[in-house]
Symmetry: C2
Subunit: 304 residues, 2 copies
């Protein structure tokens, strides 16, 4: 995992032309915030990364980055759980997170007050799902999972983010225990052995006693993790019949993807037809974890 | 279960007025077909029920019923699996059903050729889901399960039936075995112990050796079945965050609904907020299994 000090990195991928509008992206994670500015083509023209500290300090840095930049709107994807229903009195809040200092915090209002721009507020995984949706052809039914420190997921159906009473919490669905894994308790603080509890990054260290990034990609533990991810993919396939499932996050690798595909085929057992197994389960189309940023630009643009 | 002989029943609930269009409904199940005609208000003005025999004979009866009735369009909800993607070469077919004589049968084309009206073709559970959606206020995210001879489900999100690569097969999601039920193999011909394999009507007789309709509603077996249904409701809640889950079908009863509610609360354990538990899990709003008929009328009307 990359160490995020107080460093500020700025990259210019594309020029700002005078006739184009600019859009903002805020990707707020538990360890770092990524803020970016994009042009009409949703290309990054400026970007900053900083550590997540207190809400006050972190949001001040966000405001400082966007001040004077004349973005037309901002897309904001945050770690959850959060309240993204526009009509809810707690709209714009991070709700019940275990992250110290961030529970029950209104993150949208301070930004709106300081920057006076429309903000589209959702989860980071919904942003990523949307970024993948707009980066692909024919993704009418797209599911995005991030398999990392936690497991989260977003769904985009026919161009719309799914979730009537809130955002999906598909990282916490239950999966069937493998006989090989019967001794492992699971790490989810809420459910112990839900999908996140059995297949997220921290389960590597919890099972093996060595840090996840030091576990070889061909270690048999990935057969177990791959099976649980595959089970979740089968469940969502039977439920909404998507046409693509994108698997992102720090735990995913081309090797793990192949294991997931193998276990998915075995578990689904042709019960429903998958037109193209080669592309049905995929790594993100947007490289370098950029799905959420592009998704946020697009969601901001949609507000206009 | 009701014996369906060759009887034809006709009911008139509402008058046909000269200025109103008429819509047709075909609800095709494994044991019986229900065909009906509805007015602009989606009220039934004529109805017929007959036994499902061969496709040829059954479709001839459907044609005979609608001939000369001047319906503007027909909504057709059939037992599945079926092909309901308009662009698919097998659109309008029942696909891989185990029901003798019905696999790989085009059911839409013979009707279109004989009756020359637009037909909306979907599953019976999608029709029911849609019928429940239009019969309720504020059902932006509605899931409908039928718990009967089999278990099927449909989803209506923001007024649209969900399913990009086909219709949901949520009756076949996996659930966690209860310790009390470890000996029971399950009845699903494909998966043995999926939701349908553990909670459908035939599991009553398979477990107890007495016909399902003779099992007392307070028999402890319903605690087990209720738990499995609740597990499925939790999974779909975490996945798409609907605002109502409707539980229909011959196995459901007010008693079983209360068990499902109890088990759902226990399993969800407040992980996500359910605004109104009293109405979140509900029996159908449309009485006497009429959800699919009203849904079909509405889907037919939508084609106009």
């Amino acid at each position: 995992m990359q160490e995020n000090k107080q460093q500020i990195k700025t990259t210019i991928d594309a020029p700002i032309t005078s006739d184009s509008r600019l859009f903002g992206s805020i990707e707020g994670g538990g360890t770092k915030f990524v803020c970016a500015i994009g042009n009409e083509q949703l290309e990054v023209v400026e970007k900053v990364v900083f550590k997540t500290t207190t809400p006050e300090e972190t949001l001040q840095k966000v405001i400082k980055f966007f001040e004077g930049k004349s973005v037309s709107a901002i897309g904001m994807g945050m770690f959850g759980p959060l309240e993204n229903r526009l009509t809810h009195e707690k709209y714009g809040y991070i709700t019940s997170t275990p992250k110290e200092g961030w529970a029950d915090v209104d993150v949208v209002r301070p930004l709106k007050e300081a920057l006076d721009v429309p903000i589209y507020f959702t989860t980071d995984v919904n942003s990523s799902a949307y970024g993948e949706f707009i980066s692909r052809e024919k993704a009418d039914g797209l599911v995005y999972y991030t398999i990392g420190t936690g497991i989260g997921a977003g769904i985009v159906l026919n161009g719309e983010i799914v979730g009537v009473t809130g955002h999906p919490e598909m990282g916490h669905v239950s999966v069937k225990r493998l006989a090989d894994d019967a001794e492992f308790e699971g790490v989810c603080p809420y459910h112990k052995d839900c999908l996140e509890g059995l297949a997220s990054g921290p389960t590597l260290e919890a099972r093996l006693g060595i840090r996840g990034e030091n576990v070889a990609l061909d270690h048999p533990v990935f057969e177990i993790i791959g099976n649980y991810i595959a089970q979740a993919c089968v469940q969502v396939t039977l439920t909404i019949r998507p046409n693509i499932i994108v698997l992102g996050g720090g735990v995913m690798s081309p090797t793990l993807l192949e294991i997931v595909k193998k276990e998915f085929k075995k578990t689904l057992n042709n019960y429903v037809e998958i037109e193209n197994m080669d592309t049905y389960l995929s790594l993100p189309a947007v490289v370098e974890n950029g799905s959420a940023t592009i998704g946020n630009f697009a969601l901001a643009k949609k507000l206009m």
